[in-house]
Amino acid sequence: MDLHELEAIGEREQAQRTRLRILCCAAAGCQASGALELKRRLETVLTAAGKLADIDVTPVGCMGLCGHGPLVRLEPSGEMFERVTPADAEEIVAALEGRPCTVTRCDRQHPFFARQFPIVLRHCGQINPERIEDYIAVGGYRTLYHVIHEMTPTEVIAAITRSGLRGRGGAGYPTGLKWATVAKSPGERKFVVCNADEGDPGAFMDRSILESDPHLVLEGMAIAAYAVGAEQGFIYVRGEYPLAIERLQKAIVQARRFGLLGAQIFESGFNFRIDIRVGAGAFVCGEETALIASIEGRRGQPRPRPPYPAESGLWGMPTLINNVETFANVTAIIEHGPEWFSSIGSNRSKGTKVFALTGKVRNTGLIEVPMGITLREIVEEIGGGTPDGTPVKAVQTGGPSGGCIPASLFDTPVDYESLAAVGSIMGSGGMVVMDEHTNMVDVARFYMEFCKDESCGKCIPCRVGTVQLFNMLTKLRNRQAHARDLDKIEELCDLMRETSLCGLGQSAPNPVLSTLHYFRHEYEELIGAEGDHGS
């Protein structure tokens, strides 16, 4: 494979494409709403009308507005339809041919679409994720060619560093710095690991990216491997994501067949193979040292850092671990330049962030917005407020490690530092909207139950602390708590934060502390007469 062949594939692909096309979302969300049946029906209708040669029905990845699926988009008009049932197939074809159609159209001018800034999601919903040719036709793997043949590893790392990209898994560690550390750490072998163990409940960004554009992640990983000097990569993906695993497997096989992964990529001296490791349902494996233990076939228990995986990771070798979304940003940064990337976003948080907007919100789905946008813009403009118009009470970011931010602070800009300042975290990108009907003590207890079950049991503050906090919150909910129990809760939260071994235990108190801080009255209301009676 060389650049000419790559371009020839892209051109051939473009030339073969029919002028009129129906793009049908085939990501997990829309599949669950009946998208595959719809696609079959569309093909039947077109076959019966003898139009299948002129009109393609293409399965594509996530179009974003998952709550209104299945979604269908027409090309070249760009018209988009929501909640399309198989019975609507005739009308969709009619719309394509300019005849009347009564299926509900999505308003593409709506802030849900207009306010987005797709970098990571730029191919999502545009290409067939199961065909590498589709990815090549939109310019795929050209950046990898450019990197291998025209850039030194040092130049690649410098570009990533200058871009200001920070880890999208939640902690926000500067990506360039991590790459540089792995590159200069001595080791006979090095590894690149993609963390796709998206464990936060309420988050599905990584699933959507892997299902919609798997090659973007593979190409990002290959560029990273070239930069740090690794020849072996792993994608650690959740077992709960069968479709993502299937598409990744296909993508890897295709890339290998095209000579874009494996030995002597683009006829250079660079070799890189990628294997998939399927997770087995343990939230703690999102923590990097636990993830390493799991890839090595052991229980997913974290170990103290340092040494960091960048110096001593898989089998004791220098290992680069980045999140799916981080890798998905790489090609755009190299292609458009680090200055372009760092011009997007806010002062210390560059680029965009993908969020899964869910809960009590009208427009649920996947969005990508520039850093620095306010929570209000996301919840009210993009999300459209609550479905029944009840006031929004809070938004939860960062899952079990994050906090609840009250509506009064919705002018907070979304960046790593601002969210931390209000007691939450950026997290991996789950954003759950809560309205007046959501009780915040219940929410705190919900997350603590999660952390209690998911604590790996290695260190005592987390193993015992989560259970105790859960018991205290249950006692509170049953109106059996005393006022002094609130102080005890806070004290225990502090202790866990300070003394737990890994991020799970250190951040498990966040949902409790943030709700206790902003919604203390809800806690105090539960210290009812019975509680006083008991004392």
Partner: protein
């Protein structure tokens, strides 16, 4: 599979199927060159083939991968995905992720518990039905979500899901 386990397979077809599964598992272990590192991959395969991980199966895997049985058992019990007991013929998994929780998943689960008489995480005594919970299916856009015999049910309506389960269990009686 040990000899004693094989002896209980009176049916020859069942024995043939079991041998076949054994061969596939052996091939998987061979592909990973019987390395202990591949334990989780091997257990995934074993569960896919047999439906659950029996003590015999675990000790067999331990022997083939030259690992202490304690390590195999430790891994099998650490991860939620692995089941050490057989699952029911039909399974319903209710997602209890945050988005589903906010949209009433706990209520949905309680109703299904009442309907089936099976507690979450358990299987009915007759082995017909398992009611399970998931941390998050990643189908948050469709909250509340459930999985009924492998099929994702989005915007799960309580009465609709209950009817489907009743139907599933009733039709074969």
């Amino acid at each position: 599979m040990t000899t004693s386990a094989l002896q209980t397979d009176v049916d020859r077809d069942a024995r043939a199927a079991s041998d076949n599964r054994r061969k596939i598992l052996e091939a998987t272990m061979k592909r990973f060159q019987y390395q202990g590192d591949a334990l989780i991959e091997v257990l995934h395969k074993a569960q896919e083939l047999y439906g659950f991980l029996s003590p015999e199966l675990l000790s067999d895997v331990a022997q083939r991968l030259r690992l202490p049985p304690s390590r195999v058992y430790g891994v099998a019990t650490f991860y939620h995905f692995f089941s050490l007991a057989p699952q029911g013929e039909h399974t319903c998994t209710v997602c209890l992720g945050t988005a589903c929780y906010v949209r009433g998943a706990a209520l949905l689960l309680r109703e299904l518990e009442e309907l089936s008489g099976v507690k979450a995480g358990h299987t009915s005594a007759d082995g017909r039905f398992s009611l399970l919970t998931a941390r998050c299916l990643g189908a948050c856009g469709l909250a509340p979500a459930a999985v009924l015999d492998g099929e994702v049910v989005g915007h799960a309506d309580r009465s609709d899901l209950a009817a489907r389960i009743r139907n599933l269990l009733g039709r074969e009686e």
